[in-house]
């Protein structure tokens, strides 16, 4: 079994590594110090199990697990935490494997043996319960078996299609499978709904222009597009932009 160890504290990684290596049939495939590195590494080494610390700087363990869940063949995730009431409650509710620091050897072996993949709804539910008001720091897109991360601050706008959502960001465009409504709820107030199918990043708005009788459109910084504002949302958009 190939195991990826993710923890921001060097001594914690060192100990986990030693414990894993003492278990037959398990080998350490890599170590990462935060969620972002873990995702990059998971793409390369394709681990069977990820031992994931929850609290890490940058991208935390719960978010990283959510992104990993997007993979074609996602690894099993075992969360590790020193003390985290919310998360523990969520894990118990959703029957997710977890370990408490300092990790015991027998518990580790036992949990590894029973590790199973988490489903996307499970991961989303854990994220909601473990970090109630926390937003993701990145979006993830699957590309040739690996995950590519898009930092939220680079996202300019989302446009919903029938089935997919197009994310326009600093480095191009991608399709993601999410709903505009949940994105809006997760990322407000940084993002503003200007149309039934459009959600824009407030910080990247260049101007709001009048394009006709009672008609407005939004221009984004560094982009030559005009995004129409629906009549229904016009007052709200103008208020937010001016305020």
């Amino acid at each position: 079994m190939k195991i990826l160890i993710v923890d921001d504290e060097p001594p914690a990684r060192e100990r986990l590594k030693r414990l894993v290596e003492e278990i037959d049939s398990c080998e350490v495939a890599g170590e990462a110090a935060n969620g972002t590195d873990a995702i990059a590494l998971a793409g390369r080494v394709a681990p069977d199990v990820v031992l994931m610390d929850i609290r890490m700087p940058g991208m935390d363990g719960v978010e990283a697990a959510r992104h990993l869940g997007q993979l074609e063949e996602p690894p099993a995730i075992i969360f590790i935490t020193a003390y985290d009431e919310y998360a523990l409650r969520a894990f118990d509710t959703h029957a997710v494997g977890y370990l408490l620091k300092p990790v015991r050897r027998e518990k580790l072996a036992d949990t590894l043996a029973r590790a199973s993949r988490l489903t996307k709804p499970q991961l989303a539910a854990i994220a909601r319960a473990a970090a109630p008001k926390q937003r993701r720091t990145h979006l993830s897109v699957r590309a040739r078996g690996e995950l590519r991360l898009i930092p939220i601050e680079e996202v300019l706008f989302f446009v919903a299609d029938q089935k997919y959502i197009t994310v326009r960001h600093a480095r191009g465009e991608d399709l993601i499978e999410e709903s505009l409504k949940t994105l809006e709820e997760e990322f407000e107030p940084g993002f503003l709904r200007i149309h039934r199918n459009t959600l824009v990043a407030v910080r990247h708005i260049a101007s709001i222009e009048r394009s006709g009788e009672g008609q407005y459109s939004v221009r984004m910084r560094g982009l030559d597009v005009e995004l129409p504002v629906s009549r229904r949302l016009a007052t709200e958009v103008l208020r937010r932009f001016r305020g």
């Binding site: 921001d8 504290e9 060097p10 001594p11 914690a12 060192e14 100990r15 030693r18 110090a33 935060n34 609290r55 700087p57 940058g58 020193a82 003390y83 985290d84 408490l100 620091k101 300092p102 990790v103 970090a131 008001k133 926390q134 937003r135 993701r136 720091t137 990145h138 939220i152 601050e153 940084g190």
Partner: protein, 364 residues
């Protein structure tokens, strides 16, 4: 109540509910109770013998004798009463009060008989006439009033005790607030070091023990600033093991008089806060700066940490608890003369303490 807290060992056990009846406020209370009872008795009398004021004065005189003698009796027997159980002490006190009433009533009756025995018709009812009737009435009233008064003192004491212990509990709860996260992470670090670097693991256990000892100190303990900073350094050492090069702490405290006395646990909780909220969320870490300056008669200590501003991250909760805790400690030590200011300067979060300089006893 914690025995080690009571400051004067000569005083009876602090939990005894009867107040000190030799103290002026209590004597005043006794006078008030006597007067109130006198007024009630006079008002309740159907026909007044000499008009309201004379009757009131007469009753007051009699009751004040009883009241003050009772206070004296309780004052002298208090040390003995304090050693008894509450029930027993209450019963004995009640008996004592009734006995005092009995003696004074008897004396009053016989005085009346002795001095004015022949002039009974002239003085009228200034002194009581029916002996047994007079005594029984007085004893009955004394029993009821004394029982009520004892009950009042008991409840007042209980109430004060509850308020005090609630305040203490609150402070203790704030104090016993080493973050569980820190505890378990430290244990994890030590578990890791046990094999890779046993000497360092040993040191870490020692540091952790000293840190807990410091956290378990009495809330009001004052310690030399040097020791207080040492506790913060213990904490720093443990966190350095865990966070590695991500944590840097800069100390600018050379100017401070190290022998000055400060409330314990001023600096460590703020350093803990700075690391938890400032350094830990930063992937590349950062520097906490602890600086101190002497400003005439006051000391200024400030702790600053970088602020991370990742768009998605929500601030970690629990910040207020540590700040409130330190603020409360300062207020306890220097009521109205200390300040805790928080400045959020964009990329930097600064907590500044200002408090009066107190020299240690040894050097004063």
């Amino acid at each position: 109540m914690n025995r080690s807290v009571s400051d004067s060992p000569s005083a009876p056990a602090p939990s005894f509910y009867l107040p000190d009846f030799c103290a002026t406020p209590t004597v005043l209370a006794v006078v008030l109770i006597s007067e109130l009872v006198a007024i009630v008795l006079t008002l309740a009398r159907e026909e007044l013998h000499h008009g309201f004021w004379i009757d009131l004065a007469r009753t007051s005189l009699f009751l004040l004798w009883i009241g003050l003698s009772s206070a004296a009796a309780l004052c002298y027997s208090r040390p003995a009463l304090a050693r008894m159980s509450v029930q027993r002490a209450s019963a004995v006190s009640l008996g004592l009060l009734i006995a005092v009433t009995l003696v004074i009533s008897e004396v009053t009756f016989w005085l009346g008989q002795f001095w004015f025995g022949d002039l009974q018709s002239l003085v009228g009812s200034l002194f009581p006439t029916g002996h047994v009737n007079f005594l029984l009435r007085n004893l009955c009233i004394s029993f009821i009033v004394s029982a009520l008064a004892l009950r009042y003192f008991y409840i007042a004491h209980e109430w004060r005790h509850t308020v005090e212990s609630r305040a203490r509990l609150r402070i203790d709860a704030l104090q016993a607030r080493i973050r569980p996260h820190f505890l378990f992470n430290s244990m994890n670090t030590i578990a890791s070091l046990t094999r890779s670097n046993p000497a360092r693991a040993e040191e870490a256990v020692e540091d952790l023990a000293d840190l807990f000892r410091a956290n378990l100190r009495e809330t009001r303990t004052q310690i030399p600033l040097k020791e207080e900073l040492e506790v913060a350094r213990l904490y720093q050492r443990i966190e350095e093991l865990r966070l590695g090069p991500r944590l840097k702490v800069k100390w600018n405290v050379q100017e401070l008089p190290m022998d000055t006395l400060v409330p314990s646990l001023l600096v460590q909780p703020l350093l803990e806060n700075a690391i938890y909220h400032g350094i830990e969320p930063l992937p590349d870490g950062g520097t906490v700066i602890i600086s101190g300056a002497r400003n005439g008669d006051s000391l200024e200590l400030s702790i600053s940490n970088p602020v991370h501003d990742a768009p998605g991250a929500s601030p970690r909760s629990g910040n207020r608890i540590a700040l409130d805790n330190v603020r409360e400690r300062l207020e306890l030590a220097y009521p109205g003369r200390a300040r805790l200011d928080v400045e959020n300067r964009g990329a930097e979060f600064v907590v500044k303490l200002t408090f009066p300089l107190v020299k240690s006893v040894a050097t004063a």
